[in-house]
Symmetry: C2
Subunit: 254 residues, 2 copies
Amino acid sequence: MSSYKKPLILVSNDDGIFSPGIQALAEVADEFGDVEIVAPDRQQSAVGHAITVSTPLRSRSFMIDGRFSGQAVSGTPADSVKLAHNQLLNRKPDLVVSGINHGSNAGINILYSGTVSAATEGTILGYPSIAVSCTAFNEDADLSGSKDAARKVIGYVLNHGMPRGVTLNLNVPEGPLKGIKWARQANSRYVEEFEGRIDPHNRSYYWLTGKFQLLDQDDGNDINALEAGFASLTPIQYDLTSYPLLKELENIEL
Amino acid sequence: MSSYKKPLILVSNDDGIFSPGIQALAEVADEFGDVEIVAPDRQQSAVGHAITVSTPLRSRSFMIDGRFSGQAVSGTPADSVKLAHNQLLNRKPDLVVSGINHGSNAGINILYSGTVSAATEGTILGYPSIAVSCTAFNEDADLSGSKDAARKVIGYVLNHGMPRGVTLNLNVPEGPLKGIKWARQANSRYVEEFEGRIDPHNRSYYWLTGKFQLLDQDDGNDINALEAGFASLTPIQYDLTSYPLLKELENIEL
């Protein structure tokens, strides 16, 4: 047990330290303990679980509104959490929270998400970790429901802990909170993903675009919950082994 | 069923089109069917499942040794496979293979791996997909065992298929192939991850370094197999839901 009275909560994200979402999440975390923000110094969306290996990282101290101190890191969300754990924090955090992302990280988006990767990195390092995303993309989105949902989940995790190896992925619709539903990651994908264009020099280039497609026909997935107006809460793991298939295949000699 | 006699195999990687590993994998794929290479135009290690959303992608045609044609993409491994599927290939591939990576992608490295992300993206798009990595980092590594292992696994998958949603992650020691063992992803992590330095302007910066630490005490994991001299073959999935924990938690009201 720590001899500190207040828990330390590390706050990170992928939208960078100037995002309204990270400030909203820091405000909620502040109700539970001491807050340190360590996050990318700029927008890092869709970076997945990237880490920076071929250039060095730098960090700069900053203060938001005279309230929250932190470090801005010249790297990815996973870099930020690694660097916080290894170098920047004076004591080990009791909890890692990442977000509030502007845009949902449900279904297949979990794989591409920098927000989720920061929380997953916290889990890998041995801390209970939560990723929080709001479905609205706009910077002036109403995050009141996201804050309420984050407050409930943070309170639960600080009181009850989390098994090692598991990250909680929370997605919340814009506006007031209707409720939180436990859910699995929806089977989903993107279709018609690129728009081809021709530049003024007559060379082709492609913008990533695409339509989200829900393949999951059964209830209980995160997209369903969000479409019904609820927040979704999904325990995810970084052990990617497909145990059912491993069991099925392991006697096949190659 | 396709009306083409020969299967089409899409080859990608994260080390870029000039890597010896991608040529070695294309040579093996060539024994089974038509080969198209679509891969990053430069080194993209440790990018995880990043995708490029804020800049457009470009691709350029290239030819290796007058034998293999392909497209070099100005993006990540996952971008390359998405763009191949959506825009660059004349017909849908029967198989996606990624590698041969110079460096192991076993244990926790699976999460950071661009090589694995290219194969995972193939799986998301509905194709049987295999990631292949050699444990040796040097560019002149002996890939003979990696090629032999890839040949066995490609042959198996083309003959028997793979269930949707599953990617095969193959890691192979340098040198001749001793055998292939089915294995789970080892529970592992990095410790002492950064080396702090002071630049000539008296500002601190950090290099990512760190020691790999195996936490897994039980047999049957990928690191064990590699340490015993065998190739490891792990079925991995992109549904990250922890179903055991979801079942345990889903009646808790938040």
